[in-house]
């Protein structure tokens, strides 16, 4: 006689569903920054744990400063940025790039958002400065 299939235990059902989820990977910027840091640590170029990696919040300040031709970016003043961001916005794209800095490497990432109420485009970014201190040896 054919036995009916037992319903799955709810906990087992959740666990089998959890197996269908995987942790999201690190961003390319973070992966590169970590690899650069490991290389510098291994070669002894980073000697100090404090202030080795400095994070700067890059926020447009001052009255609309410039229009970048072809891209349509505006640097808004703080009040305009605050007012626009409280309402709805549309995420446009992410930009990220790495460039040499006087004391190490600068890793920049910014997101472009369009504020639906005003139609203005806001660029919000951050800049990570990885300082490579002079080795004493």
């Amino acid at each position: 006689m054919h036995k009916p299939e037992m319903p799955m235990d709810p906990i087992e059902e959740v666990e089998s569903m959890l197996k269908r989820l995987a942790p999201a990977a690190m961003s390319e910027v973070a992966s590169r920054a970590n690899e650069a840091m490991i290389d510098d640590l291994a070669s002894g170029q980073i000697a100090d744990t404090k202030d080795t990696i400095r994070r700067i919040y890059w926020w447009p300040t001052g009255i609309a400063a410039s229009l970048i031709a072809g891209v349509g970016l505006f640097f808004l003043d703080q009040h305009q940025a605050n007012a626009g961001a409280v309402g709805e916005y549309e995420f446009l794209e992410s930009q990220e790039f790495t460039k040499p800095a006087p004391n190490g490497v600068s890793v920049e990432k910014s997101n472009l958002y369009k504020l639906n109420k005003s139609g203005l485009v806001v660029q919000v970014g951050e800049r990570n400065l990885i300082n490579t201190l002079d080795s004493q040896f």
Partner: protein, 176 residues
């Protein structure tokens, strides 16, 4: 020699980085902050492992370090927000903690949102147990609780998720 050590750490980070990011994510408003936490923890671990042949660290210790860094981050964020009232955190709707293994897996996508809504005490146990691969003993040592408490939190979290899933399925059935 240095290059060999560096490669070991990079391989270790490539294998475990996403799990560490997932754990760090629950402490932060944004993925970028979580990536900063992981980087800070890796740096601390590097110096910790200096007396141990610079071998990559054990996962339980790294989770513990991320948790410690996360607590400090919370404290400094509260102070910074008071100083900089004009800072606005814009939610990036593409910022997901977990990705479905199969495309268009609706149930998994629904579960993903429910995991984020678990309390931090339950969520951190689920993350460490399920994706971190830690035993309840290791989780207990990381969180300074008993293994029984760790197991209880894990089971309670899964029961909560199961209940929410049941509710979703019933709603779906009622609409059909």
């Amino acid at each position: 020699m240095a290059s060999c050590v560096a490669e070991n750490w990079k391989d270790w980070l490539a294998e475990h980085g996403s799990k560490l990011l997932l754990f760090a994510r629950s402490w932060c408003q944004s993925r970028q902050d979580a990536e900063d936490l992981v980087q800070e923890a890796v740096l601390k671990m590097w110096h910790h492992q200096a007396d141990r042949g610079h071998l990559p660290p054990d996962l339980p210790l790294v989770f513990s370090t991320i948790r410690f860094c996360g607590l400090n981050f919370h404290r400094s964020e509260r102070r910074r927000k008071k100083r900089e009232e004009s800072v606005i955190y814009l939610n990036d709707f593409q910022d997901m903690w977990l990705d479905p293994v199969l495309e268009d897996d609706e149930d998994a996508l629904l579960l993903r949102e429910r995991i984020k809504n678990l309390s931090s005490k339950l969520r951190e146990v689920v993350i460490m147990k399920f994706w971190g691969g830690l035993t309840f003993q290791q989780i207990a040592e990381t969180l300074a609780i008993s293994p029984n408490t760790a197991a209880s939190r894990y089971r309670y979290a899964l029961e909560q998720l199961a209940q929410e899933l049941r509710g979703i399925k019933e709603d779906r059935h009622a609409q059909a």
